[in-house]
């Protein structure tokens, strides 16, 4: 599969997890592809810099440096949107009022703790709102390819990169499988790629099991 196809495959699968009316924050990268797969389902996109209700990309005429998303890309605002300060925006995030944060990551450990802010071997000079979203969102879904560009699994037994916080994410939607994290550890909810769970386990280097969804939910 082409890299671009994988990204869309992941975004489409994540879109299925969202529910009508939810307040959603999207990280940069694959998460930004999710809205195009929502169909009729209406969700409300929040941006850290002070907007609830991000609309479609602006036309050339609509471009306005005042109106940006947290990735500093120009956006529009939908009907019913609202603007607020950064303090009020993070009150919304940290206070548990974002239903779902969809984030990229560098690593996820088997308990669901993630490392998504500090790129290894680079000076650590940027965190932005990453840790606030990890700490505050009601549910965190990771949207990322299972392997990084060196072929290393992002699902790991123990984080070797710097943690983004003690909060464990709920779901990791990858191009190979969907992983769910509970108090019992990681379980495979769904296999996307044409691969057995044994083959997946071998590729990842962790012995993986299917979730018994009926029991877990």
């Amino acid at each position: 599969m082409l890299s671009q196809d994988k990204r869309h495959l992941i975004a489409k699968r994540v879109a299925e997890e969202l529910e009508e009316g939810q307040i959603v924050n999207l990280g940069i990268g694959i998460p930004t592809l999710v809205p195009q797969y929502l169909g009729e389902k209406e969700v409300y996109l929040q941006s850290e810099n002070g907007l609830l209700g991000i609309g479609p990309a602006p036309t050339e005429e609509e471009l306005d440096i005042d109106l940006m998303n947290a990735g500093k890309e120009p956006v529009t605002a939908i009907k019913g949107s609202s603007f607020f300060s950064s303090a009020d925006s993070f009150a919304l995030i940290r206070g548990g009022h974002i239903d779902v944060a969809i984030l990229g990551t560098l690593q996820v450990d088997v308990k669901g703790e993630i490392a998504n802010w500090a790129v290894p071997n680079q000076p650590i000079l940027g965190v932005g709102g990453a840790m606030d979203l990890v700490a505050g969102a009601k549910k965190v879904i990771i949207a990322a390819t299972l392997f990084n560009n060196k072929g290393e699994s992002k699902l790991v037994s123990n984080l070797t990169y710097k943690t983004s916080g003690i909060r464990r994410v709920e779901l990791f939607v990858s191009d190979y499988a969907v992983f769910k994290f509970t108090d019992d550890g990681v379980r495979v909810v769904e296999i996307i790629e044409d691969i057995t769970i044994e083959e997946l386990s071998e590729k990842v280097g962790i012995s993986l099991e299917y979730a018994e969804e009926k029991i877990l939910n």
Partner: protein, 228 residues
């Protein structure tokens, strides 16, 4: 009670070694006229509290290039290569704080709150050396409030009393820094008569604002350009 001043009066209000609180998210909502006024002044050794260091060659980055910034306090500098290099050489101090904690700390500074406990960053490298406390069974870290000597604010409109309103996401950190500086200067697109702003819509009441200047920049798509 003359709040509306000329841009060239600004540099007299800032001293070397001051802590400067600056609104804006990247360049969006950035008080460019105020920032650029300092380029021609002899102030230096500034500590600047702002989410970013402008963008390469623009905004706060120009102050940095001009050697006026000793230390940055903010949440995201990774994409600013010259700043990263300066930090590596020990020429620029950087205090990295999660964006929400930064916003809350500035709000606390303006609100007479000495410090607070946040969930954000618990257990991470950014919590190292910070006091941790369990409150109602959850782990939090302590953060001190942030205050400044001078605040640079960008707003859409001011009335002549100094009441401010903002435009869309250019609001961002601006109302926060407006509360937390000993001297607060607002750069605005338009100055209107008292009574022309809706009292329900004023975001920054005039009690916070010491001076107002007319911005020299206008929007042109995804840029602010100097008006002629």
């Amino acid at each position: 009670m003359r709040k509306v001043i000329q841009a060239n009066e600004v540099s007299n209000l800032v001293k070397s070694g001051d802590t400067l609180l600056v609104g804006g998210f990247g360049l969006s909502g950035s008080p460019l006229t105020l920032i650029y006024e300092l380029l021609h002044s002899d102030v230096s050794e500034l500590t600047v509290v702002s989410n970013n260091l402008g963008e390469d060659g623009l905004g706060l980055h120009k102050l940095f290039e001009a050697g006026k910034i000793k230390k940055m306090v903010g949440s995201f500098f990774s994409t600013n290569k010259p700043a990263v290099t300066a930090w590596q050489k020990g020429e620029l101090e950087i205090d990295l704080i999660p964006q929400g904690t930064l916003a809350e700390a500035i709000r606390a500074g303006g609100a007479g709150i000495g410090g607070f406990y946040t969930k954000t960053a618990v257990g991470t490298e950014l919590a190292e050396g910070k006091e941790e406390r369990v409150i109602n069974g959850e782990r939090y870290i302590f953060e001190k409030a942030i205050k400044g000597d001078v605040s640079f604010v960008k707003a859409a409109k001011a009335d002549k009393l100094g009441n401010l309103i903002y435009h869309t996401t250019a609001r961002n950190f601006n109302p926060l820094v407006a509360t937390a500086g000993k001297i607060v200067i607002a750069e605005v697109d338009e100055i209107v008569e008292v009574g022309q702003l809706d009292p329900e819509q004023i975001i920054t009441p005039h009690a916070y604002v010491d001076y107002v200047i007319q911005s020299k920049f206008v929007k042109q798509g995804v840029n602010y350009v100097e008006s002629r």
